[in-house]
Symmetry: C2
Subunit: 191 residues, 2 copies
DNA sequence: TACATAATATGATACTGGTCATATAAAGGC
DNA sequence: GCCTTTATATGACCAGTATCATATTATGTA
């Protein structure tokens, strides 16, 4: 073995990370293989040594994006109990900061309308990520509210998504504040 | 005037209607000028006699899509009072039928993630449609709930959008039912 | 230091899609 | 029935993009 055991793997990870950002910023169709490779400091030619197709990269990018999101929240919520986690999660997710940074945000808010138009492997990766997030919400919710997890996530993602359509920052902030308040009520946590 | 006064206008309307469907089905980037013209029974060449650019067509298509949606609901809710309208609207919007028919459904649920990536004219058309819908919701809501209109719309669109990610129809139906129930509570109407 | 091989770059191909110049066809007025 | 004008079609151009064949570079080993 001439290169270190991990060399190629590291390159692959760089490409996937670049893709995870680019796909959220421009959508799966809006971004090109050459562009992502350049972002990772490479040229387009070597791409097919790492992935069998662009679709395979998009799948990896979506997994990576959900993974980044999950790890970030795990760090942020470390040590908190269920209700505290729910409150902190809602505050971070349904926030102006999230609205203004789609490229590093939750793939649900950024890709919701692209996904139904993608091929099956991409849709499956997306659904995996959605279900994992729903599962985490369920763990934080009290037993009698557990079935609401999916609907709560829908409300969170919908609020961020619609806030991005508002050109007026104040209108967007009001929408997000109304959504946060309602979500906390539904979750049974005090404001 | 050699052709009838309305001939060109009729053709234009056919093209816009075809675009309104195609754009919702495949996204603004996913659909081509030639494809839309073929759908309208024409070839691609004549396109630039009607629109200065593809973007102008997308703007017209989004206006048309919001208009279709508005007219359909106006018919459906004709004669109902505020609370009745809200209930009927939620039942129709947050429904499996809507989930399963993006091409004829609300542009918000279908295009939410594409829109932030579009040029300003397209984003403005979208925002016009969003604000018009929010305005209609406000008219149906009691005074003290009027400020919730945007957040309520976000929840409705988010629920439909996320339900489209669920490959299991039952999971999707449950999510939509939970969302409907919560929306009606927030709106202050009896189930 | 030269070699063998793994990793990446160069460059080409085929295709698609927006745009536009030019040609053809349709339709009412003389 | 011809002519002018309006509307649409044909065909081409150019840029962008996924894919792949081949060349080149980089790196650890003998």
């Amino acid at each position: 073995m001439r290169y270190s055991d991990t060399h190629k793997e590291e390159t692959r990870r760089k490409v996937v990370r670049a893709a995870a950002t680019a796909v959220r910023a421009k959508g799966p169709e809006g971004v090109g293989v050459a562009e992502i490779m350049a972002e990772a400091g490479l040229t387009h030619g070597g791409f097919y040594a790492h992935f069998p197709s662009k679709e395979a990269l998009v799948v990896a990018a979506i997994d990576e994006a959900f993974g980044q999101s999950a790890r970030r929240f795990a760090r942020m919520l470390d040590g908190l109990d269920g209700p505290q986690s729910l409150g902190a999660f809602v505050d971070a997710y349904v926030s102006p900061a999230h609205r203004d940074n789609p490229a590093s945000g939750c793939p649900i808010a950024t890709l919701s309308s692209d996904l139904p138009r993608q091929g099956q492997p991409v849709r499956q990766a997306y659904e995996r990520g959605v279900r994992a997030l729903i599962g985490r919400l369920q763990n934080w919710l009290s037993e009698d509210r557990r079935h609401l997890a999916a609907s709560l996530l829908a409300e969170m993602a919908g609020a961020v998504s619609l806030s991005r359509a508002m050109s007026d920052d104040e209108d967007a902030a009001r929408l997000l504040a109304d959504a946060r308040a309602n979500l906390k009520t539904r979750m049974g946590i005090d404001q």
